[in-house]
Every structure is written in structure tokens, then in C-alpha cells.
Symmetry: C2
């Protein structure tokens, strides 16, 4: 099998860098030494594991594709750029027949989906590339649909811990609130307890020091009205490796779909999880 | 609505007693003051909340039903007798057109199902009457079916704590092993760690003293190969109230089915959970 050609966009950003680092060690991938970047980035190149990546700012995208169209067309773009760049980049992928995996949030999702459906490409689009987290969300969505009111009368506590810089409440925790409500638990979005204090994170929760600057810990606790029954679900993620593997799995999945001749289709991580 | 007539069999056993206690406080139920009991039981009556229950040993079942057939026929039997008595009791329910909820384990399940299908009755049969636990098992079974290999490469630890007298490994924990295996986790039945030491249970795990003699605590931990991701699922049950409510919910569900004219049907707790 030929290696899967990928173009990782969003360097020198941390997610893009982590994906490049991992893909360079994996023979299944052939990483193109170019990366779309933001207009504010001053560097021209980024070196990762002795390989130089040329950064392509927005005003050079047109010129870049003219020079490399044939090469890039057979690649899968992996997008970890910036929420504000998503609309333009996705349009660029569509215009230039570049299949893509979109890990960046933001952008006009409806328009992106429509653009892919008109272009002759396929894409994996997901707000969360952590396969196991997406699987957990799907499990709860299933239970909420099949067993409404299962946790009727249960009270609920949700706590999440993220790096100090994260201002908003965990999107993953928020995404599960409607499920828990359908399951009958007495819980609301503003009940989510956010921990942002690194000292408490390390000493009380046990977040390793190494990951104080990049972690996503979530605990959902359900307690029966008479306090005799406790259910607790926890998913603690340190660093980025879960998202890196999920993204590369998405690229492999997309590559298979393309080889099978599929076009104009959008996949989610649920499709990747199902693997079919 | 008329109260649902129930005959709780298995007194003076703890589960039967707990169900009677709860049902006596609930206007939706009318508890018949008789209970099938074992041949070894010497008491003739049991008094619960000032109400006397006459115990009916096996050799008096025939005589009892002759005297009370009309009354008992319109009741739902709730069976928490003894594994060795299940086959005979279920046959007795079938022979006498008594719908039943079977919470007792043991017996020849295939034969019981066949007997119900031939008799003009309905039954709820489930090895676990804890609705939320059954729901959790169903969630995992769903994930295992839909997302095989989701936790590929993850190592797993399962710990369970039960009262000192329980010799065998938790059936709930065992029932989930094939699911976790299908999900790709590296785990086997003999990896389940059993805690039976009350001192450790109280001091290390935090089981309240009151429940050292009756609890079922389970924790399933999955850790990614690179140790950066942890998923943990816990369900801790103290005492019997979760099973009591589940059983009474099963009786209500069965009552509705009977009123709707259903016959010759077996339901599980999954049906009760789905409520349709």
C-alpha cells in the first residue's frame, strides 16, 4: 500500500505540530512539507524532527496551489488552523479538490457541508477528534434515547478541570447535559463546576504537573434520591495524544473511503468509530 | 386506577421483606398477606409494618391455591424465593395463571420461558432488577457492537467490593467482560479484583459501615497505552433499594401490559427501561 499523503495545516500551532510529529514516525503516512498558516505568523518555515515545513500564509495560497496542484490534489488535508480561518480554508479545499479532515472548531458548518457536497471530495468533520470521548458521548446519547428517565430522581454533579487559560466551560461537558436531562437527572449547564486553579488541579485532583498546561478532566456523578446508589463516569485526558491518534485514524478512514470511490460525502467521528 | 395486587414470595427473606416494606407505603400496590416460602422455614407468619403475612410452604401450595384461586389469579407474583425453588414456583405460576416478576436467579431459564409462552400469562424475568445497572450494561453492549475496538491498546482494571459472605466474583462485572473485550480492552475474567475485607472496604474504599453487610461496588478503569487517557466507570450500590424500586417498576410495567391484553410474553428489564 502506498503511504497516505497528508498536508497538515495550522503549523506552527500545537495540534498541527503534534500530528506532524506522530505522522513522521508512522510509515502509513507521507507528510507534505507545506502547511497553511495564519496571516500573523512571521516564520517562513518550521522544522520538526529535522524536516523543514514551508508555511503558506493566506495571501500565498493561490500561488502555492498553482505550483503544486497535482501533488496536493491527491493528498488529505488535516486542518488544525484557527476558527476564524476555517471557512476560507474549507472553501479552498473544495475549490481545489482536496479531501480534508477538519479538527478545527468554528466556521459556518452548514456552508462547509454544502460546499463539500458540491465539490468532488470527501471530508471528516468533527468538533472532537478524541475517538473514545466521542464513543462515550454516543453511549450516553443512546441511553438517553432508549431509556428516557432512567436516572429519574438522581441528583448530579459535573466537574471539569482544564488548563488555566481556558475561559469557557468544557464543550464536552456541555454537550452531555441534554443527555443527562433526558435520562431524568436533575442537572443544568450552570451546575458544571470548572476548576482552573493549577494548585488545586495538581494537589487535589491529581493532574500531573507536566499536564497542568494541557489537560481535560471530566467527572459526572449521579446519586440516587435516597443516596444509596452512585454512578460515576470519568474521562481524564492529558496532553493531545488522544486527539492526534483520532485525527490520524480519521485520515486513514477517509483514505479508504476515497480509494473505494466515495465522493461528496461528509463523515463524522462516529463513522470513523464504526469503521464502515 | 385500582391498586396493583401483588403477592411477594420469598418471605422471610431479605429481598421479599424489603419489597413488602416499600410496597406497603405505596398506594399503587395492594399486597396480598400470603407468601410462598421454603420447606426449611419454621415460622408460620411474618409481621411487617403491623401486617401479618402467612407463609405458604411447598406442601401447602396446592391447598392454598384451591382456597384462593380467584383472588390470586388477578395478582402479580413477585418472586424472590430461592434458586432451588425457582423451577417449581414458575411452573406453579404458569399452572395457575399468575403473572410474575422473577428476581430470583437459578432455575432452568429455557424451560421457564417455554412454560410462560404456553400459559396464558406474562412475566418479567431478569437476573438484575437494578434498572440503572441494566441500563449501564446496555450502554456498554451498544458501544461494543457499534464501535468494536474503540479502546484498542487500553489496559484495564476492574475492582468490585461485596459483603464478606459473597464467595463468587460479581456477576455484573463478569457480564461486562465480553463487552470490554469487544471494545478492544486487554482484560479477562480473572483480572477482576474482589475485595471482601470489611476493614479495607470501609477505610480504603469508603463503604459506609451500615452497608458493609450488603453492598455492590464496581469500578472499571481503562488506561491508554501511553498512559495519557483514563476512562473510569463506577457504580456503587448500598443496600437493596435500587433492586426494590426496579422490581416494583417491573410489576407496574407488567400490570400495564396485562391491562393492554398482552399474554404469553416474556419481558426483560430492558423492556421495563424502555417503558413501551
Amino acid at each position: 500500500m502506498n503511504a497516505i499523503k497528508i498536508m497538515v495545516n495550522g503549523l506552527p500551532g500545537n495540534m498541527a505540530r503534534a500530528i506532524v510529529q506522530k505522522a513522521l514516525t508512522d510509515k502509513q503516512f507521507d507528510v507534505i512539507p507545506y502547511s497553511l498558516t495564519g496571516p500573523e505568523i512571521e516564520e517562513k518555515t518550521v522544522v520538526i524532527e529535522n524536516k523543514a515545513f514551508t508555511l503558506v500564509p493566506p495571501d500565498q495560497k493561490k500561488h502555492f496551489i498553482q505550483d503544486h496542484k497535482k501533488w496536493i490534489e491527491s493528498a488529505i488535508a488535516i486542518d488544525y488552523t484557527h476558527p476564524t480561518a476555517v471557512d476560507h480554508n474549507c472553501q479552498w479545499y473544495c475549490d481545489n479538490h482536496i479531501h480534508f479532515v477538519l479538527g478545527t472548531t468554528g466556521g459556518n458548518r452548514v456552508r462547509i457541508v454544502q460546499a463539500v457536497q458540491k465539490a468532488d471530495i470527501c471530508a471528516v468533520i468533527s468538533p472532537n477528534m478524541g475517538k473514545q470521548i466521542v464513543g462515550f458521548q454516543a453511549m450516553l446519547a443512546y441511553a438517553a434515547k432508549e431509556f428516557p428517565g432512567l436516572f429519574e430522581g438522581y441528583s448530579m454533579e459535573i466537574t471539569e478541570s482544564h488548563q488555566k487559560g481556558k475561559a469557557d466551560v468544557s464543550g464536552t461537558a456541555r454537550s452531555l447535559i441534554p443527555c443527562f436531562q433526558d435520562l431524568g437527572a436533575d442537572v443544568h449547564e450552570n451546575d458544571i463546576f470548572m476548576e482552573r486553579n493549577p494548585d488545586i488541579q495538581h494537589k487535589q485532583l491529581g493532574v500531573p504537573r507536566l499536564y497542568l498546561n494541557g489537560h481535560a478532566w471530566h467527572t459526572y456523578s449521579l446519586v440516587s434520591a435516597d443516596q444509596t446508589v452512585t454512578f460515576q463516569f470519568t474521562h481524564n485526558v492529558n496532553g493531545r495524544s488522544i486527539y492526534v491518534s483520532g485525527t490520524l485514524d480519521a485520515a486513514k478512514f477517509l483514505h479508504n473511503k476515497i480509494c473505494q470511490g466515495h465522493r461528496n460525502l461528509i463523515y463524522t467521528m462516529i463513522d470513523v468509530l464504526k469503521g464502515n
